[in-house]
């Protein structure tokens, strides 16, 4: 009896070992590919950023943090950091509020819901390049909506993304801190593209809340507004977090929209680290300098992503 259970057990463990071995083998190519092409190259970029490779001739002499120091002293990079922060904040806040508003409206079981849902989510199907080109036409100071404004008798027309003003524009070293007006035009284009996505996420969240919850609250004597504030919105928290993470990393690494729409802009009012990285590396052949911008972009994205990943892992462990 005892013998037979023991052999059963060892058979079982042998089989599970065999399974694990197989599973490992199956994952191995992916693991190798990710290790080399993601983490290996991140490491390589980090290494290059600490060298003096700033011409077409490879030069791996060690310069320490020199490239980073030069970067943070650079007017253009300082402007980029300001723009990134402003862009990310405006973009996420606008997407969240517009997306939520649309979702709530659509959740009223209106007629033609499918039509509207598709209408709002459709911009997402376009590439940022297309969005950029179209909004560049719309906001063009001499051929865009200004033609209409002109016809309506508007004098002193706004110049949209060509505006170099920064409000309120406190001086901080060489750069001005504030919201570059030109950048708002870029934010509008980005929000147009992605608020439909936020709407879809919120709509799914709203539909996931069981009606019984609302009814229970109603029985307890809660008004509609109270139900929204105390019952529905708290249920949407996880969705809000997911949306913030997804939109956040898009905005931190944004490149194509800016390139298509404005480029760096006059006085770098619409410049972002992605564009700077590309121009430094592939126009200026400053590879080490470009690598250091890339590393900083990675750090910016990880500031946003890592806490999320950690919380997810904790949840998994608990669950």
């Amino acid at each position: 009896m005892q013998d037979s259970t023991r052999t059963e057990k060892s058979k079982l463990s042998a089989r599970s070992l065999d399974d694990r071995w197989k599973a490992f083998l199956f994952l191995l190519p992916t693991l190798v590919a990710v290790a080399v092409f993601v983490y290996g190259f991140i490491g390589w970029t980090g290494y290059v950023s600490l060298t003096g490779w700033n011409s077409l001739v490879p030069d791996f002499s060690w310069v320490g943090l020199q490239n980073y120091v030069a970067l943070f002293q650079d007017f253009r990079f300082q402007s980029d950091l300001r723009n990134t922060v402003v862009f990310t904040l405006l973009f996420i806040v606008a997407c969240l509020s517009i997306g939520l508003a649309l979702a709530v409206l659509l959740d009223q079981r209106i007629r033609g819901e499918t039509f509207f849902r598709n209408l709002f989510i459709f911009p997402m199907a376009l590439s940022f390049i297309v969005t950029g080109v179209v909004w560049q036409w719309i906001f063009n100071p001499s051929t865009g909506i200004n033609l209409w404004l002109d016809r309506l008798g508007w004098t002193d027309l706004p110049v949209w993304y060509v505006d170099t003003r920064i409000i309120p524009g406190w001086e901080w070293g060489a750069i001005q801190v504030g919201i570059p007006i030109a950048l708002i035009a870029v934010v509008v284009a980005a929000v147009w593209q992605l608020s439909g996505f936020t709407m879809a996420m919120y709509l799914a969240g709203l539909r996931g809340i069981p009606d019984t919850l609302r009814e229970a609250a109603r029985v307890d004597g809660a008004g509609e507004w109270q139900i929204w504030r105390r019952v529905i919105l708290p249920q949407l928290h996880p969705i809000t977090w997911s949306v913030v993470i997804i939109l956040g990393h898009i905005s931190l690494k944004i490149f194509d929209l800016v390139v298509a729409m404005t480029g760096p802009g006059a006085n770098f009012v619409t410049d972002v680290p992605g564009v700077f990285m590309f121009e430094t590396t592939f126009r200026g052949n400053h590879y080490a300098q470009g690598a250091s911008i890339a590393v900083i972009m990675l750090v910016l994205v990880s500031i946003l992503i890592v806490p999320y990943l950690v919380s997810q892992m904790r949840r998994e462990e608990r669950g």
Partner: protein, 420 residues
């Protein structure tokens, strides 16, 4: 699934991976790969005509036209850098004469000298000496120029000038006088399109050329004249003043948009290289001298801001003999006269056939023979690419902020670093 099958599967995966790695080495036989960024209307036609001419003379060699699209070669240059550093160079590639060739590829020891080819083809007195100097490094010649573009051209609308009883300006004083009168009448005096900041750098370098003269202008890039020289500061002040006479939306326009303002009569003048002529005649169907006219930029008469496309022979070319044959065609009178009328540029050779070119081309060919040649900074001939990018950045800020002292300091510092 048995263990055998698992291994079979893994082997298959590995095979696919290795196959991907080795897939690019397909080139065989007698082929010449020509790498350029000529994919636009006129330039592509010119390149194709050139290739056709080459294939007629060398029926045994096949041409692989590896052109990479993208304005001013940005994408092409990135692709090229990757291939050169990975020791997989094209057989020949387009590169601007001057610093773009010498300080990068020749300095990196990636190019074969072509001095012998020049002797064999007796080219040494067919191209102007200053041009040969531009493609030489430490006594060896490294590439063959196929065309010449001129940078210091002021394009203007003859009808606007005639209607207002004005003469196109030859000096900066005249420029500001004319600009004031035009501004009073509600006409934009100077069209600018610096959405890509090189266009502003291009305007600045013509001002520098005018204020410094060709000799001192050339010395600026070798560090013999510092940026805080009074003449440079005067040039920056003049540039700053000129910007007050440009269209308000210049940051939203590219160079074609700016040239178009002159064509449509919205602006009186525009400073741009003579690819603008190709745009006027080929795209807008305008007639030279009648619908648009030109003059050297203020105070730069007798100077020729030269932008030249050249082709060289990289080390590690798979077919150096075939490539040399292509370069022979490229440098021949026939080759240059086949390519340039289509591309809208003038030939680099002094003995080309004048009759094949339009009135602008003929006039410019004469100027080219007589003028002092100066390399363009904005187009990569005067200084290393890294410095050009940094200048574009500094000019971008200068256009809005107008800080002369800070800009002078920054440029001096960056140039010193670049020349090290």
């Amino acid at each position: 699934m048995g263990r055998k099958r698992v291994f079979a599967f893994l082997t298959a995966v590995l095979l696919v991976l290795t196959a991907c790695g080795g897939g690019t080495e397909g080139q065989s036989g007698n082929e010449v790969e020509i790498f350029s960024w000529w994919t636009g209307a006129g330039e592509e036609a010119g390149l194709n005509a050139l290739i056709q001419l080459f294939e007629e003379e060398n029926s045994d060699i096949r041409v692989n036209n590896a052109a990479v699209a993208g304005g001013a070669g940005t994408n092409a240059k990135a692709t090229l850098a990757t291939r050169m550093q990975g020791n997989d160079p094209p057989d020949t590639f387009q590169v601007h004469g001057g610093s773009e060739l010498n300080d990068s590829w020749v300095a990196a020891d990636k190019m074969e000298p072509l001095t012998e080819l020049y002797q064999q083809e007796e080219w040494n007195d067919k191209f102007p000496q200053e041009l040969i100097d531009l493609v030489s490094h430490e006594g060896e010649i490294y590439s063959v120029p196929v065309n010449i573009h001129r940078g210091n051209v002021l394009w203007y609308s003859p009808s606007i000038f005639k209607e207002n009883g004005l003469e196109p300006p030859r000096t900066f004083a005249e420029f500001f006088e004319v600009a004031d009168q035009l501004k009073k009448k509600g006409i934009v005096p100077l069209a600018l399109g610096d959405k890509e900041s090189w266009a502003a750098t291009h305007l600045l370098e013509t001002v520098l050329l005018g204020k410094l003269g060709p000799d001192d202008y050339n010395k600026l890039w070798t560090g013999e004249i510092p940026f805080d020289d009074p003449k440079v500061i005067d040039a920056l002040e003049t540039f700053k003043k000129m910007l007050q006479y440009t269209n308000k939306d210049h940051a939203a326009r590219n160079w074609q948009d700016a040239a178009q303002m002159v064509a449509s009569g919205d602006a009186a003048m525009n400073v741009m290289g003579d690819w603008a002529k190709g745009y006027f005649t080929a795209d807008l169907k305008l007639e030279p001298k009648k619908d648009f006219d030109w003059i050297e930029t203020p105070e730069s008469e007798g100077s020729f801001m030269v932008i030249t496309d050249t082709f060289g022979l990289p080390k590690g070319s798979k077919n150096p003999e075939g490539t040399k044959k292509f370069l022979q065609v490229l440098g021949s009178v026939e080759g240059q006269d086949t390519f340039n009328p289509l591309k809208g540029s003038i030939p680099a050779r002094l003995d080309a056939d004048r009759e094949k070119y339009d009135v602008y081309g003929q006039e410019t060919m004469d100027d080219f023979k007589e003028s002092a040649l100066t390399p363009s900074l904005a187009h990569g001939s005067a200084a290393p690419e890294g410095f050009v990018t940094e200048t574009n950045q500094a000019v971008n800020s200068f256009v809005t902020q107008g800080k002369v002292d800070a800009t002078v300091q920054l440029l001096q510092q960056k140039l010193e670093a670049a020349l090290k």
